[in-house]
Assembly symmetry: C2
Homo-oligomer: 209 residues x 2
Amino acid sequence: MDTPEELQKIFPIFDSKLAAFIAGISERRTFGEGEIMMKTGQYFKATMLIISGKVKLYRESDEGSEFFMYFLEGGNACALSMICATRNQASQIMAMAVEETEVLMIPIRYMDELMTHHKGWYYFVLETYRSRFEELLVVIDNIAFKNMDERLEWYLKQQTDKLGKHLNLTHQQIAHDLSSSREVISRLLKKMERNQMVALHRNSIEVLI
Amino acid sequence: MDTPEELQKIFPIFDSKLAAFIAGISERRTFGEGEIMMKTGQYFKATMLIISGKVKLYRESDEGSEFFMYFLEGGNACALSMICATRNQASQIMAMAVEETEVLMIPIRYMDELMTHHKGWYYFVLETYRSRFEELLVVIDNIAFKNMDERLEWYLKQQTDKLGKHLNLTHQQIAHDLSSSREVISRLLKKMERNQMVALHRNSIEVLI
DNA sequence: CCTCTTTAGTGATTTCTGTCACCGTTCAGG
DNA sequence: CCTGAACGGTGACAGAAATCACTAAAGAGG
């Protein structure tokens, strides 16, 4: 288990009493690269705090296609798991680890105590909700107002911000994340390559800007 | 001012102590039909609780076009105003009254006291955030996965759920809300009329399903 | 080394949506 | 009653994106 001091380094908003409480009740779990951490329709049994690693969050359509929304990383938490957990609701999103990811699982039975006795906890919950909410608003901007070329640029920027300039992604995966088709993405990437914005390799893309 | 009992009828999650506190510190304000209640970029000076009426929430693009997201009505609150208020952040959305709307304005200086001393308040805040978040996810579903004809049907359904089968909307307004163009909406509505789904009149639409 | 699968590139075609142009109707205000 | 603005209908066209069809190259696994 984590020491309270380590926890406070990752979640600075936690006071030492709260960090100690969480360290005592939570369970650490590791997800491997590519592992699905949460499926649409699944019920939350615990709130998940990300210790380290990177997680991609997706929205799934009825027909099975998926749409990338945002990343979570160390210090973040899944917004929905914090409240759905308390209401026993099914998840509306899918979460996948993009690299080895460590999380703290806090069983839902402690939620009420955390909420009522630890000021730092609900500040953390509110901040989590607020920042995810704002990320969703930016997602809406992009799909409502922008064309695919701009969306692709924004997507690549998001990825490089989190994962570095060298992206191990196929065109098929990108098309998937943007809910488009491989051919469209291939053509747009080719155009970006002609404009010196990326260098294309098999199974990877180097972002040059 | 409202009596605590009236407040509890509209916000059942408030206990009587909380309702009394809010009744004591809040100010009532009325917005007329079509009035802008909150502009993008404006700073929150108060959290707004909707007492009665209907409010449309929009996301605005950099270029000035607007995109309808969801309604608020009596018993709801603006999610962003509850937390942006505490951090003095600019609004990321635009809110417009579609009919005469009464709100309670709670000055931001009371937020911390409400949060720490009133369990019902942060339950309310969390529930507000959660439900708006889920509405945003449905919005994303629609623009990411659906064509304009399905989006139009969903839009009309949302409107009739809140405002009744008889909608006083021009094709131009609908195009605006969906970030499309009048001609497209006119054609799709005509098709829906041929399929007995709507009846079209000047300045109004009757939804038949 | 050979084969099969995955990945990528590209032309042709179609569908959906946005834009332009134009016209008729309705309605408010002089 | 007249006029101009707002609203709505519709054809023609343009552009973006999806889909289909095919090819070539790379890499994995026998």
